[in-house]
C-alpha cells in the first residue's frame, strides 16, 4: 500500500435490476429510481441509480481490493452524470496518501456519458499479523464505559 498505487478498475454493468435492487436495499422509494414512466415525467430519460447505491458500490470497490480486514473510515462522494440502465460504470482508484495503516483513496466512476462519481475513501488496512482494533472503536468503547459508569452513578 503506497502512495500512487492504482487499484485495478472494476466494471459495474448498470442494469435496471441493480438500480431497483439498490434503491430497495437502501429503502429509498423515490419513484425516479424504480418507475421509468414517472422518471420521464420528471425530465429524466429513464430510472437512474440512487446515491446510496453508488456509495455502497464505492465502499465495495475499496474493500474488494484491500480485503475483508480493511475497515472503511470515511466515504465522501459527489455525483455527476447519472447511471442509467444499459450503461457500464468503471470504478478506478488511486492511493493519494498513506499514513501508517490508513490510506486515502481517490475514486472515480465513469460511465458512457461522463463521470458519475468522484470521491475520497479513507480506509484502515491492518498489516499482516496485526489484530484489528480500530482506534475509533477503542474510543467509543471508552465512551460507552464512561456512560455506563455515569448511569450507575445516576441510579446510585
Amino acid at each position: 500500500m503506497n502512495t500512487g498505487d492504482e487499484l485495478p478498475p472494476l466494471e459495474i454493468p448498470i442494469t435496471r435490476t441493480l438500480i431497483v435492487a439498490g434503491a430497495i436495499a437502501s429503502r429509498d422509494y423515490q419513484d425516479v429510481h424504480h418507475d421509468a414512466e414517472l422518471a420521464r415525467r420528471k425530465g429524466s430519460p429513464d430510472v437512474f441509480m440512487n446515491i446510496l447505491t453508488t456509495n455502497g458500490l464505492v465502499g465495495r470497490y475499496i474493500t474488494d481490493h484491500f480485503g475483508p480486514k480493511a475497515a472503511l473510515r470515511k466515504v465522501a462522494i459527489r455525483l455527476g452524470a447519472p447511471n442509467y440502465p444499459g450503461d457500464t460504470m468503471v470504478l478506478r482508484g488511486r492511493v493519494e496518501e498513506v499514513d501508517g495503516d490508513t490510506a486515502t483513496v481517490r475514486v472515480t466512476g465513469a460511465n458512457g456519458i461522463g463521470k458519475h462519481v468522484t470521491g475520497t475513501v479513507t480506509v484502515t488496512v491492518p498489516r499482516a499479523g496485526e489484530v484489528t482494533v480500530p482506534a475509533a472503536t477503542a474510543a467509543t468503547a471508552e465512551a460507552a464505559e464512561a456512560a455506563v459508569t455515569a448511569s450507575r452513578e445516576e441510579s446510585a
Binding site: G59, K69, V75, L79, T137
Partner: protein, 363 residues
C-alpha cells in the same frame, strides 16, 4: 437521449442562467427570499429519532446481494453491517417517517413554492466511528447545516441544502452522515435544443468542470406545452404517437370531422370510426406569431389552419418556408415532429417554398 441535462455541479458563477452559447440572463436574486432560506441554517431537521429496525442480518444480506458485495465481514456470527449502509438504518422506507421536525419540511416547501420543485442528491459524506452489528438500535439527530445561494447547474437553477446527521447506538456516536441535495427548477430540452457540432464535449464531465462550463451549455428552453388529452380525443393523440393522423368518421352518415368530438355535427350520430389522413393539405388560413413571447417558442413563426385533402381542417405549425412567405393556398405536407422524448406533433411542411404573394388565392 442521455446528455447534458444530467450533470450536477455547484456553479461558481452564482445567479447566471445560460440559455445558449453566448446568451445568458441574469436571474434576479430575491434577497429577501435568500434571507428566509438562510434562517433555516442550524435548525434541526430531525431530533432523537429512532431507526425503524435494529441493524439486522436480512437487510444486510439484501444490501450485499444488490451491491454484489461478498465481503465475508458482512456475514456469519461476527458480522458487521457494511459501513456504507449507515444512512439505510435511518430511512423512512415506503411508509416514510412520522413526526418529522418541521424546519426541514418547511424549508423544502418554501423552495417548492419558489419553483424549485425537483430534487436530486449530489453529495454524501459519511464517517464511520464504530462498526454496526445486528441488534444495534440506531437513534439519530439531523441538522440543516447550510442552504446555498442560488446556483445554476446543468440540471437547472436552485439551492443546495446540506444536512448533517449524527447516528448513535445508545450513547455512542456511531457515525456521521452529511448529505447534500439540490432543490432546483429543471431545465427541459425542446426542439430548439440543437446538438452543437462539438456536442460530444457537452457530455457531463466532472462536476467541478461543469460549473465552469455553464456559459457554453447547450441551448435549453422550457418544454413546449403538452396537448390536452381527454377521453374524446385520446384516439387522435394515440394515432399521433404512432405517427398516424387519424380523422374521425361518423359511421351513420360517413361524414369526416376534426377536431375529435363525441358525436357527429351533421347527423348527431354517436358511432364513429377513423380514416388515416393521406398527408396532403393546403394552407386555408394562417397567423404569424410575434407576440406574446413564450419561452418554449421562438417567434416569429407561422401557425396554419390547414385544409386536408380529405376536407377537414386542423391547426399546425407551417415549416419549410420563412413565416412571412406563408400564403393561403400554399400546398403543405404532413410531417411528425418530435419535440422531446414524450412529445410528437403533426406539423405541415411547405411543398413550394418559393410561394409568392398573390400566387395562391383564397378558395
Amino acid at each position: 437521449m442521455r446528455d447534458a441535462r444530467c450533470a450536477v455541479g455547484d456553479a461558481d458563477e452564482g445567479a447566471t442562467v445560460s440559455y445558449g452559447p453566448g446568451v445568458s440572463h441574469e436571474v434576479a436574486v430575491d434577497e429577501e427570499f435568500e434571507k428566509r432560506l438562510k434562517a433555516y441554517e442550524g435548525r434541526p431537521a430531525a431530533v432523537a429519532r429512532a431507526g425503524k429496525d435494529p441493524v439486522n442480518a436480512p437487510m444486510i444480506r439484501h444490501w450485499c446481494e444488490a451491491m454484489g458485495d461478498t465481503n465475508p465481514a458482512y456475514a456469519g456470527r461476527d458480522a458487521i453491517a457494511p459501513p456504507t449502509m449507515l444512512q439505510v438504518w435511518t430511512m423512512g422506507g415506503l411508509s416514510g417517517h412520522t413526526g418529522r421536525a418541521h424546519a426541514y419540511d418547511e424549508l423544502l416547501g418554501l423552495l417548492d413554492e419558489a419553483g424549485y420543485t425537483s430534487v436530486v442528491a449530489t453529495d454524501c459524506e459519511q464517517e464511520y466511528l464504530r462498526p454496526l452489528r445486528p441488534g444495534d438500535e440506531i437513534t439519530f439527530d439531523s441538522v440543516i447545516e447550510s442552504v446555498s445561494e442560488q446556483k445554476t447547474t446543468k440540471l437547472g437553477t436552485g439551492h443546495f441544502v446540506t444536512t448533517r446527521m449524527d447516528l448513535r447506538v445508545g450513547p455512542d456516536l456511531a457515525g456521521t452522515h452529511r448529505f447534500r441535495i439540490l432543490k432546483y427548477t429543471p431545465i427541459r430540452r425542446t426542439e430548439r435544443t440543437e446538438e452543437p457540432p462539438q456536442g460530444r464535449q457537452q457530455r457531463p464531465s466532472q462536476p467541478e468542470q461543469e460549473a465552469k462550463s455553464s456559459q457554453s451549455a447547450p441551448r435549453h428552453k422550457p418544454a413546449r406545452p403538452r396537448p390536452v388529452v381527454n377521453r374524446d380525443n385520446a384516439g387522435f393523440w394515440e394515432g399521433v404517437r404512432r405517427r398516424r393522423l387519424l380523422i374521425q368518421r361518423c359511421t351513420d352518415c360517413g361524414g369526416l370531422r376534426h377536431p375529435w368530438l363525441p358525436g357527429c355535427n351533421a347527423c348527431g350520430g354517436m358511432d364513429w370510426d377513423t380514416v388515416e389522413a393521406g398527408g396532403e393539405g393546403t394552407v386555408y388560413s394562417y397567423v404569424v406569431m410575434h407576440h406574446p413571447p413564450f419561452p418554449a417558442f421562438d417567434p416569429p413563426y407561422a401557425v396554419g389552419l390547414i385544409e386536408l385533402a380529405e376536407g377537414v381542417r386542423m391547426i399546425g405549425n407551417v415549416l419549410g418556408v420563412p413565416c412571412d412567405k406563408v400564403r393561403i393556398g400554399l400546398p403543405v405536407r404532413l410531417e411528425f415532429q418530435e419535440y422531446d422524448e414524450e412529445l410528437v406533433l403533426p406539423v405541415w411542411r411547405a411543398q413550394d417554398g418559393t410561394a409568392q404573394e398573390g400566387t395562391y388565392e383564397h378558395r
